[in-house]
């Protein structure tokens, strides 16, 4: 059930299909084969029921015009009603099934997208918020059309067309031939044309949208600074220009879409006229009973209900392909760390050590670390001093295996961390990152990230320990208080203290704190450093990364990063 028709097709095409193709997307989203077949069948059956309703109506009144006994019309009258009800119910069911497939697959794609993003951040991908938002929301939403508009209509149209053509063939072959030609034309020319016209637009629209979105985000987030520096008019006109550029592209798309709508309507309309003319000729020749003229007319009108959506399908397929390509561009990057194939257990004792570590992000990038050696023993309190941007955070990233060294090794209890499971390393060595990042949720949820099974007493105790007890008590909602977007409702100091509390809560063997005092005033910073040194469990090794050397004396020892080398400080 779980294996999709898409996955079968993709497997047949070989392993080379990545997520940047529609097949790759379909395979990742996983289309359930049973539901897909059901959707196609329901869709075709709905079209056929509609055509049958019209055809039977045509037969009914044509027959009636010959003034037979009314009883002979009963079957047709009942048939008309039955087809009518069936048509409505079938269409409803088809829509439910199709959307069910689409939403389930999208939910899966979102979480897969995230799962594949995890090893790439930080390091592999710069987590640009707007880019990811636009890639995720716009591209994933575009993929909904892949399921609703692209996947089901073509096979359904084929099924319905074949059935109706067979019925026409039995009545009058010339009509069947004309109708077949009309269907083929409508099913190929209009979709191909609209897809071809849309392709260039779709390709150009996405970058224009991303640019406009980025500029709008700049205007919203940086609005006050633009205004106070008098640069607001410039960005406003830039947004206006980007908007106009997007509109120009959108207009091209609109012409394509409108032309395709007109074209498919025209092909359908002319085919019906041709069918009518041939039926009239057939009737005059005696090849077709006169009663059937109206039947053929109605059947021809009915079949285009299945064929017309193909233009939209082709256009949607193009949009989906572009979106899939962008999604793939992000996901197909390589992970910055190597996964251990058979992970070794982590020794339960021992130091955390950098030996001869050099690091750069790539061949063309500068060396951030050169032959750095460093040992953090359990229970030690060490400060790493250095100006901002000197590569201190790279050391933190190496110690928790967000990155692997370019040369040298990181060991934990003597075992190279590349040989053990990265998550196990991070359980033993916890990092609280640079800005005291808080999620847009409650204080409780932010703390539980470190220890999901902690109870309220634990959380209150830990917040009290970092000096937030009174503040917490003053909050009407306590731990349930929302911190605002990334903690904007809190002061910088409160954010940093919550982040430290989160680090403490983890009860790991080593704790690395990156700039824990960055936004605190002197008194608060000193108090927090006191707490870090005094309140962290004695056996825990602590590395505090800071630009502030005023508290250096309180640590067991201090190091500094100078020109990529680690040296003792001062």
């Amino acid at each position: 059930m779980a294996t999709g028709s898409g996955s079968a097709a993709a497997a047949a095409a070989g392993e080379s299909t990545r997520s940047n193709s529609l097949r790759g997307i379909l395979r990742e989203g996983g289309v359930p084969r049973g539901k897909f077949v059901l959707a196609v069948t329901l869709s075709a059956a709905a079209v056929l029921a509609g055509a049958a309703l019209l055809g039977t109506s045509g037969y009914l009144i044509s027959k009636a015009a010959l003034q037979p006994p009314i009883l002979t019309l009963t079957v047709a009258i009942v048939g008309v009603r039955a087809f009518g009800v069936a048509r409505a119910v079938l269409r409803y069911s088809e829509r439910i099934v199709t959307h069910d497939i689409a939403l389930a697959s999208l939910a899966r794609l979102r979480s897969r997208f995230f799962a594949r993003l995890v090893p790439l951040v930080p390091g592999g991908v710069r987590a640009g918020g707007a880019d990811l938002l636009s890639a995720f929301v716009a591209d994933v939403e575009a993929l909904k059309d892949l399921y609703v508009r692209v996947l089901v209509p073509p096979p359904a149209a084929l099924l319905a067309s074949v059935a109706i053509l067979i019925a026409c063939l039995l009545l009058l072959p010339t009509v069947a031939a004309a109708l077949c030609a009309g269907i083929l034309l409508s099913a190929t020319l209009a979709p191909a044309w609209s897809a071809w016209l849309a392709r260039s637009g779709a390709q150009r629209q996405a970058p224009a949208r991303a640019e406009l979105t980025g500029e709008l985000i700049d205007a919203i987030d940086g609005g006050a600074e633009l205004v106070t520096s008098g640069a607001d008019a410039k960005l406003a006109s830039q947004i206006e220009r980007s908007g106009e550029r997007l509109r120009t592209i959108q207009m091209r798309d609109s012409f394509a879409g409108s032309a395709a709508v007109a074209l498919s309507s025209l092909i359908g309309g002319l085919t019906v006229v041709a069918v009518l003319a041939l039926a009239v000729a057939g009737s005059a020749d005696g090849a077709l009973p006169g009663v059937a003229i109206a039947v053929l007319l109605f059947l021809a009108m009915g079949v285009f209900e299945a064929v017309n959506p193909l233009s939209t399908a082709a256009q949607s397929a193009e949009h989906s392909r572009t979106a899939a390509g962008r999604i793939g561009d992000v996901l197909d990057r390589e992970s910055p760390i190597v996964r251990a194939s058979e992970p070794l257990p982590i020794p339960s004792v021992g130091a955390l050590e950098l030996s001869g570590v050099s690091f750069s992000y790539g061949d063309d990038e500068p060396m951030l670390l050169r032959d750095a050696d460093f040992v953090l023993q359990p229970g030690e309190r060490v400060a790493l001093i250095g100006p901002s941007g000197s590569g201190k955070s790279t050391i933190a990233n190496l110690l928790v295996r967000f990155l692997d060294p370019t040369a040298g090794s990181v060991t934990l209890g003597g075992t190279d961390v590349r040989l053990v499971d990265a998550d196990a390393v991070r359980r033993a060595v916890r990092l609280e990152g640079q800005t005291g990042f808080l999620f847009t949720t409650t204080i409780r949820e932010n703390l539980l990230i470190a220890k999901p099974d902690a109870d309220d007493a634990d959380l209150t105790a830990i917040l009290t320990r970092v000096g937030l007890g009174d503040w917490l008590a003053s909050l009407p909602k306590g731990l349930e208080t929302l911190v605002g977007e990334h903690g904007d409702n809190l002061s910088g100091g409160q954010r940093q203290r919550i982040a430290f509390a989160r680090g403490l809560l983890a009860q790991s063997r080593f704790l690395i704190l990156d700039e824990p005092t960055a936004q605190l005033d002197r008194e608060n910073a000193d108090a927090l450093i006191d707490a870090i040194i005094g309140d962290t469990p004695p056996a825990t090794g602590v590395l505090v990364i800071t630009h502030d050397d005023r508290s250096v004396d309180q640590f067991d020892r201090a190091l500094a990063l100078k020109g990529g080398h680690l040296v003792s400080y001062p």
Partner: protein, 586 residues
């Protein structure tokens, strides 16, 4: 939905001209539908009853082909009118949004979910297109086509017309009944979608933190859960939307079937001519078609309106600053004294005042440090001085005139501000530093880079000043952002400079350098310096303590008597501050 829809359609020429064009297209469509049915019925009738040859019917068949062409053009015309209209309307909404953010509420951005709002203003055009190109034409057709068909049907066969007359009005009744709940559900769906994108953005930004705590996999489950909830909610909405479609479809199908039966019986009794009967039968599905289309597009249309609603929600927020209708000439802080007089400030809708009875003055050319803990209200004082906010009570004056009597833009043009976390725009580093700077001298830029200590960074960057920074470009650390902000202020020769925590993220060496820069920046300018760092506060001529939204007495920090007394004074103040908090704590 309806209030927003009316607002969308009333606002501006774009919407009006689109409505007029769609109305004309709709009227032509109604005529074409009737002509098509009449011609078809004539041809079939002549061939079937009259036994006419193909050649005798060539004229009506050619006319039918012409009508097919007309209908194709009309269909294309509806599509084009609607889409172009949607794009124009969205462009206008975007323009208003930008104006609102940059002119009326310059300080509002922080509270907004920028990604979500930007998505509504860019991606929202898609659903608006569906609304204008697919839904609206059908609404117009529901007003024009059924009456036309009813009249034509009544002339041909009044019993059928009665059948149509009875079934057709039922459709709008059901639509209203079902539509109401669909509208509510659609709003929920949109919120669920926004919630999801905001949640995803949050999670992705926090991915390093999640990974550090081994919670990334758990978050993947949460994403799945949020996605599942989204799916359930959406399926709920869709079921409602589809149920309304089901009802419409049933009515249309049963109506068509009834017309066929009524016509058939009359034909069999010889009470009706075949041509008239067939005309009515051909018209019957066309009568229901616009209703069915309206139902089918309702859900998509509601999405379009919801996107507009998101933008209107922002536009409806009251301005944070008022612009006078007849502004007074703007005095320069270089010559006029700035004064806060009994200023209270509370954010609208918030009970707690951020500032209470704040009064102080800042003489031209002097510097004033606001010293206090974070959250004390220092940044709000800065926002009031910069006119990003207006006071709730009291007034801020410059040169004896209330700031509210000036044109805010003119005031902004003469101020420079470095916030706590300067925003880095998606652009080159050079453009970020030259933000709002009219002169572009390389020498001045080099000096600015040296003063704030950015020259090493620039030298290390592969493309130097042309390196793309901000969203999608090279990430800058907090310290680097801070320096870019300072370089910006340096490059703008504004008479009033406001620095918010300029030394907060910097290493001691850089702090020293920045402090020197501040000193030279303050030469001949009026400077408001916000800091929690006493050593930075010592740079100012005067120091003002800010605590819990109130300000303490101004302490002279006179350069003449420095270093000895000045430093002592600041130390005294901070000691006093400490004593105060100690006594309050006990």
């Amino acid at each position: 939905m309806n209030a927003t829809a009316r607002r969308l359609l009333r606002g501006g020429n774009a919407a009006r001209s689109m409505l007029v064009a769609s109305g004309l297209l709709g009227a032509l469509t109604a005529i074409a539908i009737v002509a098509q049915a009449a011609l078809m019925a004539y041809v079939v009738s002549e061939a079937f009853i009259g036994g006419a040859e193909l050649a005798e019917l060539s004229m009506p068949l050619i006319l039918l082909a012409a009508v097919a062409l007309l209908r194709a053009l009309l269909a294309g015309g509806f599509e084009l009118t609607g889409r172009l209209g949607a794009q124009r309307v969205m462009a206008r909404l975007r323009g208003r949004l930008v104006r609102h953010i940059l002119v009326e509420r310059p300080n509002s951005g922080q509270g907004e979910r920028s990604g979500e709002l930007a998505a509504a203003a860019v991606q929202g055009v898609d659903s608006l297109e569906t609304y204008f190109a697919k839904y609206l034409p059908q609404v117009i057709l529901t007003a024009l086509v059924p009456p036309t068909i009813l009249i034509v049907a009544a002339f041909n066969n009044w019993p059928s017309a009665i059948v149509l007359l009875i079934t057709a009005p039922l459709i709008p009744v059901f639509m209203i009944l079902i539509g109401r709940s669909a509208e509510d559900a659609t709003r929920l769906r949109w919120q669920a979608l926004s919630l999801m994108s905001a949640h995803f953005l949050d999670v992705v930004r926090g991915l390093p933190t999640l990974r550090a705590h081994g919670r990334a996999d758990a978050q993947q489950e949460t994403i799945e859960r949020v996605g599942d909830r989204f799916k359930e909610e959406t399926m709920g909405t869709l079921r409602i939307a589809f149920t309304s479609a089901l009802v419409l479809e049933l009515l249309a199908m049963i109506g068509t079937g009834l017309v066929a039966a009524v016509v058939g019986v009359q034909l069999a009794e010889g009470a009706l001519g075949f041509q008239a009967g067939l005309t009515v039968l051909l018209l019957a599905p066309e009568l229901y078609q616009p209703f069915r289309q309206v139902g089918a597009q309702y859900h998509a249309a509601a999405d379009g309106v919801a996107a507009a609603e998101r933008i209107y929600a922002v536009l409806d927020q009251p301005p944070t600053i008022s612009a006078p209708t007849r502004p007074l000439p703007t005095p320069s802080p270089a010559s006029g004294e700035m004064r806060f007089e009994g200023v209270d400030f509370a954010y609208p809708g918030h009970e707690n005042a951020v500032l209470r009875d704040v009064s102080f003055s800042l003489a031209p050319g002097r510097s004033l440090a606001l010293l206090g803990e974070s959250g004390a209200g220092k940044s709000t004082i800065a926002a009031l001085a910069l006119r990003l906010l207006d006071p709730s009570e009291g007034r801020v004056i410059c040169g004896g005139v209330d700031l509210r009597d000036f044109d805010p833009q003119k005031w902004h043009a003469i101020t420079a501000w470095v916030p706590q976390r300067p925003h880095i725009f998606a652009s080159s580093l050079r453009e970020n530093i030259l933000l709002g700077c009219r002169k572009n001298s390389k020498k001045a830029l080099d000096v600015a880079l040296a003063v704030v200590g950015l020259e090493e960074l620039v030298a290390a960057l592969p493309n130097g000043l042309e390196t793309r920074v901000g969203d999608g470009g090279r990430e800058l650390s907090l310290g680097e952002r801070q320096r870019v902000g300072l370089a910006r202020a340096w490059m703008r020769s504004s008479p009033l400079i406001v620095l918010d925590e300029p030394t907060a993220y910097l290493d001691p060496a850089a702090v020293h350098r920045i402090q020197r820069a501040i000193t030279s920046l303050a030469q001949g300018r009026t400077l408001l310096l916000i800091t929690h760092d006493t050593s930075t506060a010592e740079l100012a001529d005067d120091v003002l303590l800010v605590r819990d939204g109130r300000v303490g007495a101004i302490a002279g920090n006179d350069r003449a008597s420095r270093p000895a007394s000045g430093r002592c004074l600041v130390r005294d103040i901070s000691d006093r501050l400490e004593d105060q908090s100690a006594s309050e704590a006990t």
